[in-house]
Amino acid sequence: MAMEKQNQEPRIGFYVCHCGTNIAGMVDCAEVAHHVGTLPNVVMSKDYKYMCSDPGQELIQKDIAAHGLNRVVVASCSPLLHEHTFRGAVEKGGLNPFFFHMVNIREHDSWVHTDRQEATEKAKALAQAAIGRVAHHKALETKRVDINPTTLVVGAGIAGIHTAMTIANAGKQVVLVEREPTIGGHMAKFDKTFPTLDCAACILTPKMSAAGAHENIRLLSYSEVTKVDGFVGNYKVTIKRKPRYIDEEACIGCQDCIPACVFKTPKFADEFNEGLGKRRPVYIPFPQATPQIVAIDPNVCLNFKKGENGDRVVSDKCKKTCVEACGDKDAIDFTQTERFEEIEVGAIVVATGFQTYDATRSPSYGYGRYDNVYTALEIERLVNASGPTGGHVVMRDGKSEPKSVGIIHCVGSRDKKTNAWCSRVCCMYSMKLAHLLKEHTNAEIYNFYIDVRTPGKGYEEFYGKLLEEGVHFIRGRVGEVTDWAMTPEEEGKLVIRVEDTLAGMVRRIPVDMVVLATGLEPQKDAQDVRRLFNMSCGSEGFFLERHPKLAPVNTFSDGIYIAGACQGPKDIPDTVAQAGAAAAEVLALIDKGYVEQEPNTAFILEDECSGCKSCIPLCPYTAILFDEKTDKAWINEALCKGCGTCVGSCPSGSIVQNLFEDQEIFSEIEGVLAYD
């Protein structure tokens, strides 16, 4: 039916949307409608308050029937937002959905200009371009591509685990990739969670082991994604399996090898405990680590030496008491090397999390210079019962308890010199740590804040509880932490210098321990990860969602979703909610079973092709092939992604891109310039 209309005279219907006052406030919509009404081929031209509303869409459908429209143009918001909506409306009206074009007069016009007349002129010009263009539109069919029902989840912190579990519980296969030896992420390091003060391990570790044991989840720990090819529904992903020098199948997690190590006492900084504890070269990050498989650190293990290229190679110098202890399980394998594995998946969820701000970047707070200045994450480990001190809060000398503690908020947050954004969780975790430190040591606790931000369920009440507990709150950004004493009471203490902006005076507060509430920032390799998955980053470096409100877990690449703090700082409840949303998006995709691809592929007009082959090396997808018999090039439509690079370069103009045909673009150029 749609095909029949292809050769008819264009009968165009034009609609300009007020978008409430979003457009109408800056563009004279009635005037735009009037102008477009005078253009050739335009049968009707209307302005309407909300085109995307049901009545707005019905208006299009009714007009198609009543006025025999065969082309529709809507001037409203960005096509990235509502092109799909209006194509649907046009299709419901009985037309091929590609007999439609959209004009962006909101994001590109009314929202960015301040002169009503100029904005109206611009709207007219853009509308005129679309009217010229749409006349050349052709009926197109969307192409259906099957979806591979397996999903890849990258990063196994709470976001990745929750996403993977939700998808796996729906009966779909998941590959969960984590670059550390254990899953759990940052949450596994926390002691308690705000505001309920339930223990992080108690709520996380059951989820971790459930994920590790789930029949539908294939867990690849100590692995990294190195390459991603393909497109929605059919991604080919290469995963690097880093050598942990343990046969994962053979290791039963008995951990007999750890005490058997030739290092009788743990000697090396323990990453999981933020360097506050020590571990051996053979180790398991923490008791509830998932998978329950040890790892050997080749950088410190005596059985390795520095190779010619600076890498670690087996030296065979060690007595290998660990191998003896492992016995006939024979799980230790020093010959392991990096392995690369290729998997095929239909959708990908990126949940790579965050890193905390490096406190040495704010030297005035003395981190790294004064022993008793800690980061918040270090305190999490220090108050934790399974931490390096067994939950006993002592300072770096290993014995004395702090009698007073100063917690400095917004370290590396809300500061144009470091990170401009609010990290959202620091106020709450600072108060949580204040409560825990007071509980453990009964010390005087001082919070130094700019604003206390408690936007969450039960958060403000938690703040009230802290005030009742007698924790001090001093409003002011701390100037410096110093050990320079001005009075005898300040001797041997760390002095926090701050302007108390409520009292209107500069104060010096001597404390034993300083805690820096470091902010959240993008992982240092976020840019590499972004490129790997063809995503975008916001200006601060967090991954960019497709739409901040309406598509918060989607990215600009179909089939690739984001969840958790890699998208922006967020607390655990928000992270889990977002992880669930990402899982729902994936399940919706898989259950539908296919995707409809935009039919913007290119094809070659065989009669015109001179067989020069100049297009062939330009195609990044090797979609252009050469037929030796006919001496002509041809495009494999299944491989074409619709960039149009070959079209723009063909010397004989014999390649055509659907939806972006030369004639359509020339009409658009003429249109934007015709109006004066």
Partner: protein
């Protein structure tokens, strides 16, 4: 044209980075010069140099091309292909006597809404300073000149002037664009 002349800027933006950045500028309510008219393409690699020439020929005073940053192209390397064509086109435009500032290529990522604002404003200012390119007008002038020349030759031939002109009058077909 009764109104005061204002620069006319045609922009070709790729769907994934620069068009999205322009959307972001809108969502962020950044304000910039209203002289720009954006045409959306899937990739800057789609931009045929003819589009740029056509825009100038049809009355644009400048053309702005926006694509993803190198290494960030949604289609792997379309932006590099555009860059190659752009280098050649620049030389051609130079030979045609079109000022360099009139055609500009910028890499603008989806996060750089502010760069859209900045680049559009800069270009509008530059074009304002350069003045109108006015190619459609110039074409008309050239057509008139050629017609005038043809008429003069015909007149002289009719008057029997033996100045070596061909005996048969040629068709004076004038082609442009």
């Amino acid at each position: 044209m009764t109104r005061e002349w204002k620069p006319r800027l045609v922009a070709f933006f790729c769907n994934w980075c620069t068009y999205t950045a322009a959307d972001l500028a809108g969502v962020s309510r950044l304000k910039y010069a209203p002289n720009v008219r954006v045409i959306r393409l899937m990739c800057s690699g789609r931009i045929d140099p003819q589009f740029i020439l056509e825009a100038l020929a049809k009355g644009a005073d400048g053309v702005l091309i926006g694509g993803c940053h190198p290494n960030d192209c949604h289609y792997v390397e379309g932006n590099y292909k555009m860059l190659r064509r752009f280098q050649l086109l620049k030389r051609m435009l130079q030979d045609m006597g079109i000022e360099e500032q009139r055609v500009r290529l910028e890499w603008i990522s989806a996060a750089e809404g502010d760069k859209v604002r900045k680049v559009v404003n800069e270009m509008t200012e530059a074009l304002q300073a350069l003045g109108p390119l006015g190619l459609p007008g110039r074409f008309e002038e050239w057509d008139r000149e050629v017609e005038h020349l043809a008429a003069t030759v015909q007149e002289k031939e009719a008057a029997g002037c033996a100045c070596g002109a061909p005996a048969e009058p040629r068709d004076t077909e004038v082609a442009h664009v």
